[in-house]
C-alpha cells in the first residue's frame, strides 16, 4: 500500500553508518522510503544492522552512539544531522525491548508523564494528559501502581503511553516481543495494530519473530542482513520469495508445513495469515503428506532422576507460590517447564537448587531426599544456568571462569585443567580457551556458563530461558548444542515460554499456572489444548490453526507429525555434518 503520491516521511538515501568502535560499517548503501501512515516491519538476524537502523531513526545515533555517517537520512523533512535527540523525540517515539529497564518513573502515571516533565509542562495539565494517554492503552486504572506490581505487558503499555503522549508522528518498536510471553506478545501486536488504525501514525516494528508480528497485517516487510536491505516487499510476496531462511529468519510454522507437504505458495494465496490463506488445493496435499511422515515412537522409560512430590512454597507466608506440585524428570529426558510470569517456574528451580526451602513436600534426586544437601552439594548433580550470562561470569579469562567451581572445591590443578579442557571441547570453546570473556558474543558467553557447570559433572542441567532474545540462527545453535548434550546422556530441563523451543526440542512439557501443575504432556498436546493455552498464557500454534482450516481431524496428531518430521530432518543433516 505505497502511497507514492505523498511525500515520504522517512528517506534513507545511500545511507551508511560505521561505529567508531567497529572496523567495518554496520550499515551500507541503505535506500529506503517510508510513507506517512505506513506500517512497516524490519526483520533481520542479530548483528544484521536492524537495531542500528532503529538507533539512526530515534536519534540515539549520533547522540549516544558515535560513528561515521555516509549518505543522508531525512525524517519529516528535516536532515537527521541537524536535529538533536530532543527534536527527534518530538517526531519519533521509541518503545524499547526491555519493558522493565525503560520504566523510569516510580509509578505508571509518573512514567507516562516523563517526557512532559522534561518539557516543563505545568503539573495539573500534565495530569490531564497522562490520564488521556493511559486510557488509550487501558492503563488508566493503574496510574498509582509501581513497576513491580505490573506484568510485562502492562509495563509495555505504559511505555507506549509514555511515547504517545508527545503526539509523535512515527512510532518505533524495537523488538517489542523479546520479553513477553506468547499470549502477551499477541496482545501487544493487537494493541500496536489498533493504534495504527485509530491514528494516522507511521508504525515501524523491528523484530525477528516474523510469524508473531504477522498476527496482524503489515504493509511492508524490509529484510536487513549484513548491513544491507535484501528484500522490501509485502508479506504475501515475502513468504513466497524464499529469502527468509537464507537470511536467518524463521518462516511461519504453517508455511514450513505447507512446504513439507509440497504446496508451492504464491502471493495470490495470501499466505501472510493462517486464517485467510487460500488452501483450495493444499488440504489434500497436507493429508497425503501426513500419511508419509515417519513417526517417532521412542518413549523414555528410564527411572526418574529428579522427582518433586507435593511441594508447596510461599515467600511471604500468605500466598502460596507453589501448591502441591508433583512431577518427575526421567534420566536422559529433555523437558520444558512452561507457564506465564509468576506461575512458579523460577521458584521451582530455586527449590531444586536449594536457594529456597520448600514448606512441605519432598524433592528427590535418584530416589534420595535432598533436603539435607546444601546449595553447593546440590550443584554437583544439578547445574543451573541463569538467563543472563553476565550475572554468572566473574572471571576475566575463559579457562579461569570455567574452572572456578573446581578451584573453589579444591580440585588439584592438573585434574582441573583436564576437566576444564573436556568441558571446553564439549562446548566447542577450545579455540577460545585463553581468550578474555569480554571478546565473546552472547551465545558464546552462554556456552561458557554451560561449560562452567559441566565441569562439575552434573547429571541434570537446568536452563532458565536459554534462548531469550536470540535470533533464529543463535537459537538453533544453542538448542542443537543442548540436544547434543542430551543425546550424550545429560538430562536437560528448560524453563521457557518459547513455544517453538517446546515444540521442536522437548518431547514433554510441564505446564504451571498459579503455582499448580495444570498439564504434563507432549508439547504437541499442550499447544493444541485451548484450556491449557489460556491458563498458561501460551498461544495456539499456527500448525493447529492450519489443520482446522484444512479440516484435518486430529490437530494434535498433525503437530506431532510435524515435530517428528523436523527431528528426522535434523538428524539427517547432523549425520551429513558429521
Amino acid at each position: 500500500m505505497q502511497e507514492n503520491d505523498r511525500e515520504p516521511i522517512i528517506v534513507f538515501d545511500n545511507f551508511g553508518f560505521q561505529y567508531f568502535s567497529q572496523a567495518e560499517p554496520t550499515l551500507a548503501g541503505i535506500d529506503l522510503k517510508i510513507y506517512p501512515g505506513e506500517k512497516a516491519l524490519i526483520v533481520g538476524p542479530s548483528g544484521s544492522g536492524k537495531s542500528t537502523l532503529g538507533h539512526c531513526l530515534n536519534g540515539l545515533i549520533p547522540f549516544a552512539y558515535k560513528g561515521k555517517q555516509t549518505g543522508t537520512l531525512t525524517i519529516a523533512g528535516a536532515c537527521s544531522q541537524e536535529q538533536t535527540i530532543f527534536d527527534r523525540s518530538k517526531v519519533v517515539g521509541t518503545v524499547l525491548q526491555d519493558s522493565d529497564g525503560q520504566f523510569v518513573g516510580l509509578t505508571v502515571g509518573e512514567d507516562i508523564a516523563f517526557a512532559l516533565e522534561n518539557d516543563c509542562m505545568a503539573t495539573p495539565e500534565m495530569h490531564r494528559r497522562v490520564e488521556q494517554a493511559a486510557a488509550m492503552v487501558d492503563m488508566d486504572s493503574h496510574l498509582k501502581n509501581s513497576p513491580n506490581e505490573l506484568s510485562g505487558g502492562q509495563k509495555q503499555r505504559t511505555a507506549l503511553a509514555g511515547v504517545m503522549i508527545d503526539d509523535v508522528q512515527i512510532l518505533l518498536f524495537d523488538e517489542p516481543l523479546a520479553n513477553l510471553d506468547p499470549a502477551t506478545g499477541k496482545t501487544a501486536i493487537e494493541i500496536i495494530d489498533n493504534i495504527h488504525r485509530d491514528t494516522d501514525k507511521t508504525v515501524i516494528i523491528i523484530e525477528h519473530r516474523l510469524e508473531d508480528v504477522l498476527h496482524r497485517p503489515v504493509d511492508r516487510v524490509i529484510v536487513v542482513d549484513d548491513g544491507r536491505i535484501v528484500a522490501d516487499m509485502t508479506p504475501d510476496e515475502l513468504l513466497c520469495a524464499g529469502v527468509l531462511r537464507a537470511h536467518g529468519i524463521r518462516e511461519p510454522l504453517y508455511v514450513t508445513a505447507l512446504k513439507y507437504a509440497g504446496v508451492s505458495l504464491t502471493p495470490d494465496m495470501r499466505p501472510s495469515h493462517v486464517e485467510s490463506i487460500d488452501l483450495t488445493d493444499a488440504d489434500t496435499k497436507l493429508r497425503r503428506w501426513l500419511t508419509t511422515v515417519q513417526r517417532d515412537t521412542a518413549v523414555n522409560q528410564n527411572p526418574p532422576v529428579l522427582s518433586v512430590e507435593d511441594v508447596s512454597f510461599s515467600y511471604d507466608g500468605k500466598r502460596d507460590v507453589l501448591k502441591d506440585v508433583s512431577f518427575e524428570i526421567r534420566q536422559g529426558e529433555m523437558v520444558s517447564i512452561v507457564g506465564r510470569n509468576g506461575a512458579g517456574k523460577t521458584t521451582i528451580t530455586q527449590l531444586m537448587c536449594g536457594f529456597e526451602t520448600e514448606h512441605s513436600g519432598i524433592i528427590r534426586y535418584q530416589g534420595e531426599d535432598i533436603a539435607p544437601h546444601s546449595i553447593r552439594e546440590r550443584a554437583e548433580y544439578l547445574g543451573l544456568v541463569m538467563q543472563n550470562p553476565n550475572q554468572m561470569i566473574s572471571e576475566a579469562m575463559i579457562a579461569d571462569e570455567v574452572g572456578l567451581g573446581l578451584k573453589l572445591r579444591g580440585i588439584p590443578s592438573e585434574e582441573r585443567a583436564e576437566r576444564v579442557n573436556t568441558a571446553l571441547r564439549v562446548c566447542d570453546l577450545s579455540p577460545y580457551r585463553s581468550w578474555p570473556i569480554a571478546a565473546l558474543s552472547f551465545g558464546q558467553k552462554k556456552r561458557v556458563t554451560i561449560a562452567s557447570m559441566l565441569t562439575l559433572n552434573p547429571k541434570v542441567l537446568i536452563l532458565d530461558e536459554p534462548t531469550a532474545g536470540q535470533d533464529f540462527r543463535h537459537y538453533t545453535e544453542i538448542m542443537r548444542f543442548l540436544a547434543r548434550l542430551n543425546e550424550d546422556g545429560l538430562t536437560v530441563v528448560l524453563i521457557t515460554h518459547d513455544m517453538h523451543l517446546m515444540l521442536e526440542y522437548t518431547p514433554r512439557a510441564i505446564v504451571l499456572s498459579d503455582g499448580e501443575v495444570i498439564a504434563d504432556a507432549p508439547a504437541s498436546e499442550v499447544l493444541t489444548d485451548a484450556g491449557v493455552i489460556e491458563r498458561a498464557n501460551l498461544k495456539e500454534t499456527s500448525l493447529y490453526t492450519l489443520t482446522q482450516r484444512a479440516h484435518i481431524e486430529s490437530g494434535t496428531d498433525f503437530v506431532q507429525s510435524f515435530i517428528d518430521h523436523e527431528k528426522w530432518l535434523r538428524s539427517r543433516s547432523d549425520d551429513g555434518d558429521g
Partner: protein, 277 residues
C-alpha cells in the same frame, strides 16, 4: 543475606497528604532548632512534638526496627566516646562543677557533664523520628521534586529517585548472583577466612557491576529518548500544590524555630541553658 532496610509507609495520614516541599521545610526547620540549641527545655519540647508526629504518621516499629537499632547503637557509642575523650566538657561549658561521684583517674561524673551529654544525646532522639517519618511518608519522586523545589539541581534530585526506583532490581540481581555463585562452591558464611571472604565477595560484585552497567545503558537510552535534560528546569508529575495546611505547618514550625532562637539570644545569651548559675 537479603537486604531490606525499611519499607515505605502507605497509611493515609495528614503527613502523607502534605506537600513534599512543606514537609522538607518543616523537617529542616525543626532540625535546625534542635541542632542550634543545647537548651534541654527546647529539646524536650521537640522530642514530645516528634513523638506525637510519629504517632500520627502511623509508622510502625516493625518498619523502622533495623534502622532504629543501628541509630541507637551509634548514639550510645557516641556518648561513650564523648565521655572518654572529654570528661570535663560540661564543666568547661557551664563554668561550674558539681561532682556526683569519682570514677577513676581523671574521670569524674559531674552534673554539668551529665546535662551536656544528655542534651547532646536527646538532640538526636528528637530529630531521628522526624527524619524517619519524613523518608517513610514521602514518595521518593516527591522527595526528588521537593529537593529540586528548594534549589537542588534536578539531575541530582532525579538521581535520588532513580536510585530508589532501581534499588529493588539491584537487590534481586544481587540475590540471584549470590545464589548462583554459592552453587558453584563459593563459601559465603563465616567458615571462610577474612581474605577469602573478600575475594568471594568480588565474585558477586563483578557480575553485579556488569549487569548493572547493562541496566544503566537501557535506562539512560530510555531517558534520552524522552528528552531528559532538554531544558534547564523541569516540572514534576508528583509535585503537589502548597495547601493551606502546608502553610500552617510551616508557620507553626517557623514559630518554634523563632522561639528557640529568641531563647538562645535573649534569655540564655548562649546555645546552652545553665541551670547551675
Amino acid at each position: 543475606m537479603k537486604i531490606n532496610l525499611f519499607t515505605q509507609s502507605r497509611e493515609d495520614t495528614f503527613l502523607r497528604r502534605m506537600s513534599g516541599v512543606a514537609k522538607l521545610v518543616c523537617f529542616l526547620l525543626l532540625t535546625f532548632t534542635v541542632m542550634l540549641s543545647y537548651d534541654i527545655r527546647v529539646i524536650a519540647f521537640t522530642i514530645i512534638l516528634s513523638f506525637v508526629m510519629f504517632h500520627i504518621s502511623k509508622v510502625t516499629w516493625r518498619q523502622i526496627r533495623v534502622i532504629a537499632c543501628i541509630l541507637l547503637l551509634f548514639l550510645l557509642l557516641n556518648a561513650l566516646f564523648t565521655f572518654l575523650l572529654a570528661p570535663e566538657q560540661g564543666v568547661k561549658i557551664y563554668g561550674s562543677r558539681h561532682e556526683i561521684f569519682h570514677i577513676a583517674g581523671r574521670y569524674t561524673l559531674t552534673q554539668e557533664q551529665l546535662l551536656y551529654m544528655s542534651s547532646k544525646l536527646l538532640k538526636y532522639v528528637a530529630v531521628a523520628p522526624l527524619g524517619l517519618i519524613f523518608f517513610l511518608c514521602t514518595d521518593p519522586s516527591e522527595l526528588a521534586a521537593s529537593l529540586n523545589g528548594i534549589g537542588m539541581p534536578y539531575k541530582g534530585a532525579y538521581a535520588v529517585s532513580l536510585t530508589l526506583r532501581y534499588f529493588p532490581d539491584l537487590q534481586r540481581d544481587y540475590n540471584n548472583i549470590s545464589m548462583s555463585q554459592q552453587a558453584r562452591g563459593l563459601e559465603m558464611s563465616k567458615k571462610a577466612g577474612f581474605a577469602s571472604r573478600v575475594k568471594n565477595a568480588l565474585a558477586i560484585i563483578v557480575p553485579l557491576i556488569f549487569s548493572t552497567l547493562e541496566r544503566i545503558e537501557v535506562i539512560s537510552n530510555a531517558m534520552d529518548l524522552r528528552a531528559f535534560g532538554k531544558h534547564k528546569k523541569r516540572t514534576w508529575y508528583s509535585a503537589r500544590k502548597i495547601s493551606r495546611q502546608d502553610i500552617l505547618a510551616i508557620a507553626v514550625t517557623a514559630l518554634i524555630f523563632a522561639v528557640s532562637l529568641y531563647i538562645t539570644f535573649f534569655i540564655n545569651h548562649s546555645r546552652f541553658y545553665d541551670p547551675f548559675a
